[in-house]
């Protein structure tokens, strides 16, 4: 199946879509990094289960 030729409208909006895509990818990477740092700095303390520590 042959690809359809992109519409002129899509060509015009290419820079916007690409820019937004890059921004979203950076946002995901930043949130991931922030999560790693937060979790490393303040390790999650699990509540001791019943019967533990005997």
């Amino acid at each position: 199946m042959a690809f359809r030729k992109p519409h002129e409208l899509h060509n015009r909006r290419w820079s916007r879509n690409l820019g937004l895509g890059v921004v979203l990818a950076i946002f995901v990477a930043l949130i991931f990094g922030l999560t790693i740092v937060k979790v490393t700095q303040n390790p999650i303390q699990l509540a001791p289960q019943a019967g533990e520590g005997y």
Partner: protein
């Protein structure tokens, strides 16, 4: 609905991604990033480098968002002024409602993310900064009083305080001093610009001091504020953010700044027009270097402190 209803003809000046970036006033953002980073790095205490980077990014985005809100509200003025006529909204590339949506979304995003990443004092200060710039300055002061940039200058002066709050979780005399330095620097910086951009403000009906009280009064104000700024800037050298490097930089730059302001004060319009406002333009360029080097010196003092070299 059929495809026939979709607008496929090129609109004049359709927005590119760069136009949305321009809404955030990248040049103002660079000043925000620098002063916020200095406030954060000069503060006592340690912050994880990634959180520091993330916090400065949030402060920059918050500053940019307030710039977008400013462009949304001021589109009518920007259309009239030569300096701003090509901005995304007056040129028709970005719709005013789009700019409002970008400004509000990014404001909320920046404040919440800064609060989650660092602390809510810093986030509160950022929220207040955005409010101050978009509402107090843009919607109220700018069109009402010739003291617009004196009071409105506070918005641009908050970033080092926010940076400091990221590291310490509070406000202290040192962060207030950094705020005061930018606050006192703003009037001479903008009034010098207004002297050689006067016709723009006049056309737009913005009550700049040059328009309401004339250029003679503006020249006098530039000198008065520069004297007050010099006292503050050199005085800060003897506090905990200062040191020998800062003192040297402050003495040299304030001597140059005072000399420039004095030259501006002595000139009249005939002299200024004869050389195309050369002195005023030079003073404006020096003012950019002035702020950059003062904050650079504060950063240098803080950076050298671990080796026992920075500070007194």
């Amino acid at each position: 609905m059929t495809d026939a209803s979709i607008q496929t003809q090129p609109e004049t000046g359709e927005a590119t991604f760069g136009d949305y970036v321009a809404l955030l006033k990248p040049r103002v953002m660079s000043l925000v990033v620098f002063t916020a980073a200095v406030g954060l790095l000069a503060a006592p205490g340690t912050v994880h480098p990634f959180i520091a980077f993330f916090a400065v990014l949030c402060i920059a985005i918050g500053g940019g968002a307030s710039g977008a809100l400013n462009m949304w509200y001021d589109a009518d003025i920007d259309r009239v002024m030569k300096r701003t006529a090509n901005r995304p909204i007056p040129s028709g590339r970005v719709g005013a409602d789009e700019a409002l949506a970008v400004g509000l979304t990014l404001s909320g995003f920046a404040v919440v993310m800064l609060g989650l990443a660092s602390n809510w004092v810093a986030a509160g200060l950022l929220a207040f900064t955005i409010f101050f710039y978009a509402v107090v300055y843009t919607m109220w002061l700018k069109r009402w009083t010739p003291q617009n940039i004196v009071i409105g200058g506070a918005a641009g002066a908050f970033p080092p305080m926010i940076g400091w709050a990221v590291a310490t979780g509070g406000v202290s005399i040192e962060s207030v001093l950094m705020f005061a330095l930018t606050f006192m620097w703003t009037p001479p910086h903008f009034w010098a610009l207004a002297l050689f951009m006067n016709s723009d403000y006049e056309k737009a009906g913005v009550p700049m001091l040059t328009v309401t009280h004339g250029r003679r009064v503006t020249r006098r104000h530039i000198l008065a504020y520069t004297v007050l700024l010099a006292v503050l800037a050199i005085g800060a050298a003897f506090t905990s953010i200062g040191g020998p490097i800062y003192l040297t930089v402050a003495v040299i730059l304030n001597a140059m700044f005072l000399f420039g302001a004095w030259k501006i004060w002595r000139r009249d319009e005939e002299m200024a027009a004869a050389d195309g406002y050369r002195r005023e333009k030079r003073f404006f360029a020096l003012s950019l270097l002035y702020l950059f080097l003062h904050f650079g010196a504060i950063l240098a003092e803080a950076a050298l402190r671990p080796w026992g070299l920075g500070g007194w």
